[in-house]
Symmetry: C2
Subunit: 389 residues, 2 copies
């Protein structure tokens, strides 16, 4: 096993002493894993340069040095920054005007820096944003919902945030893009890495219409651990997370759990209970997540109290809804076909005979019933759809 | 309009003075509509005979007399009781040993009497019972769920309660019958009336394996109002109500509302958000009903606290679940195909070289990785299903 190139680490350290904070954090993002609580604690205590010193030098933290000095020696933050600049991107760090301060809710687990590709202001774009997450191997049903929700959210000025995976992630981005809206992909790899490769052209579209976002340096490849850590950024940067389809152990549930831990609303769209891909969603819906069936309900849950209310869905009106309760009882008592006398109607409905006569006259005027020799009959065409339950 | 046959009403009254309470309430069930709060208040204050007197005589309640005396004159409770007795049935009233006392939770709206067909003890049969309700025009998905839930509930000793309609009601009864379990249909018509007529043979099966139950006298036909009033009996006689499929304005939601008003658990099974027949269920799930995906979850919600717990569903285990976090990071850092050196793994994973070497040795022993000339490679067959998310 090769020994650590201590000299190379020292060389980088020298450069960083005179570098700006962006360059130092760019370096840190290439050396330390995002979401590592030990590193986060050190950054909070000693600043980026202090951490870089502790990685480069064998003392006072020999273990940290042993673990990360090799990476430090290979890192080249100036080149990373230049590379991303050429792609229309930049690094934003806490304190920058466009830093999304809602990330501070992560406390010690907040990112030290975010690599971006995109031309808008990150903070403004994320001000009203919703995460849409779910299974990679989703069903056509799930893809359709993700896409429709994203389109509708985008049409109402909301930014859609997701990962870059196949399935729900891609369907959400495509829905937002189709509506000419804002969409952002938070990646577990560098913003210059197309993973999965087949999404390369989609990522270019996202970069030009919204944002590619990553905590890890350009060129970094995705690991399982990076996906999990990335999920907390999706949860924290948005107002709430919608899970569209997810199996019981789906990774997208990690994003839901992260959102829950941050007191952000967690929403889920149900599916058939016979579909394993809705099993995870049903599980979170059984444990406090809110069921949503359209984008308006999403906006109501994540939007401003009182100003973003969803309309309550109303079913088809039955013909009986137009009448008062006495008139309804009269109509209920009458046969759907055939003739009934007024006193039979009174007996059948349990109403007083005078009440019945008043109702019958009104109904005749409305054209709902017709007077016959032997009594009264209902005009069928007037009452379609009013069968009793 | 015919005048009221006051003499006939008096004649019935004379017979009732010497009749038993069952006969009096049998009469009342033929004359007054169940769930009528005015009648209920009168029964509570004056007893069944007192109410019959007030209906038969023009004073002291001329309006009540005008409204119901015609029905009273035509009623024949002795014949009704005999008719139901021949069908293997009876009338049960509050105070009878088999009266389901949970109906008292309805307060003033509690039934005065229930007509039954069935050979078991009503109270014991209803001790552990669940209502399964839903749309008449259900989908095959809804019918399948209703039937499966009912079968599973019946297999666990629970009585299924529903109406007698097409769709979810019928599917629930058939599921319980198929499992040779108890099922009860609460009807909006007499227990001798087959409505809908096509369910006649199913009603006979239910009568012989469980119960047909009604508040209204034999021969009574169903009205819209009777269906609505009937729903409160379904809600009150059971421990909880499961709504399987229901459109936004479905009548089965009235049963759910009644259960909610009685502090009984209201449960719902979701479906595709694109299905109008799940719209009503999704609406109640958004407003406090509990989402359930199988009978075990139903039993947990309606059963005894702590003794009827549903197993938590678990997904398929990923291969990485078997390893500690260091080992997982090592595997994450390795390419899925090809060879990687130990120091490259250390650099990539951000782990100390010694940690990496210990992990690699263990993984080699487990047969998960293999030593090559240039480093280490993953044994594909050992890790199927472990792709990163």
């Amino acid at each position: 096993m090769a020994t650590v190139d201590a000299d190379g680490g020292s060389h980088v350290l020298e450069r960083m002493r005179s570098a700006d904070e962006h360059t130092r954090r760019a370096l840190l993002s290439a050396v330390a894993e995002p979401g590592d609580p030990k590193i986060a604690a050190l950054v909070a205590e000693h600043g980026a340069l202090g951490v870089i010193e502790r990685i480069a030098l064998p003392q006072p933290m020999p273990e940290l040095h042993a673990r990360l000095a090799a990476r430090l020696a290979q890192a080249n933050p100036e080149s990373d920054l230049e590379r991303v600049r050429l792609l229309g991107g930049r690094l934003v760090i806490p304190g920058d005007l466009e830093w999304p301060t809602q990330l501070d809710d992560l406390g010690m687990a907040a990112p030290w820096a975010l690599w971006l590709r995109g031309s808008q202001d990150l903070r403004l774009t994320m001000w009203r944003s919703v995460a849409i997450v779910g299974a990679r191997a989703c069903t056509p049903y799930g893809a359709r919902i993700a896409s429709e929700f994203a389109s509708d959210l985008a049409c109402h000025g909301w930014t859609v945030v997701s990962g870059g995976a196949f399935g729900i992630d891609a369907a959400a981005h495509r829905g937002a893009l189709a509506a000419d809206g804002n969409t952002a992909a938070v990646l577990a790899c560098g913003v210059d890495v197309a993973y999965p490769p087949r999404h390369e052209s989609m990522f270019e579209l996202i970069a030009s219409h919204g944002f590619l976002i990553s905590e890890v340096a350009p060129g970094a490849v995705p690991h399982r651990a990076r996906f999990l850590v990335r999920n907390r950024v999706i949860a924290a940067i948005t107002r709430g997370t919608v899970v569209i389809e997810a199996a019981i152990r789906s990774g997208s549930l990690a994003t839901a759990r992260a959102a829950l831990g941050l007191d952000r609303p967690v929403l889920g769209t149900p599916g058939p209970i016979t579909s394993a891909l809705s099993g995870g969603v049903h599980q979170i819906l059984r444990h406090g997540a809110l069921l949503v069936t359209n984008a308006a309900e999403v906006i109501e849950a994540v939007g401003e109290l009182g100003t973003d209310l969803a309309p309550v869905p109303i079913g088809q009106q039955g013909y009986l809804d137009h009448f008062d309760s006495v008139t309804r009882s009269v109509l209920d008592a009458m046969p759907s076909r055939g003739v009934m006398s007024a006193d039979a109607i009174a007996r059948e409905s349990g109403l007083a005979p005078t009440e019945v006569l008043v109702s019958l006259s009104r109904l005749e005027l409305d054209g709902v019933i017709r007077r016959r020799d032997a009594g009264w009959s209902i005009v069928r065409s007037a009452v379609i759809g009013g069968a009793p339950r």
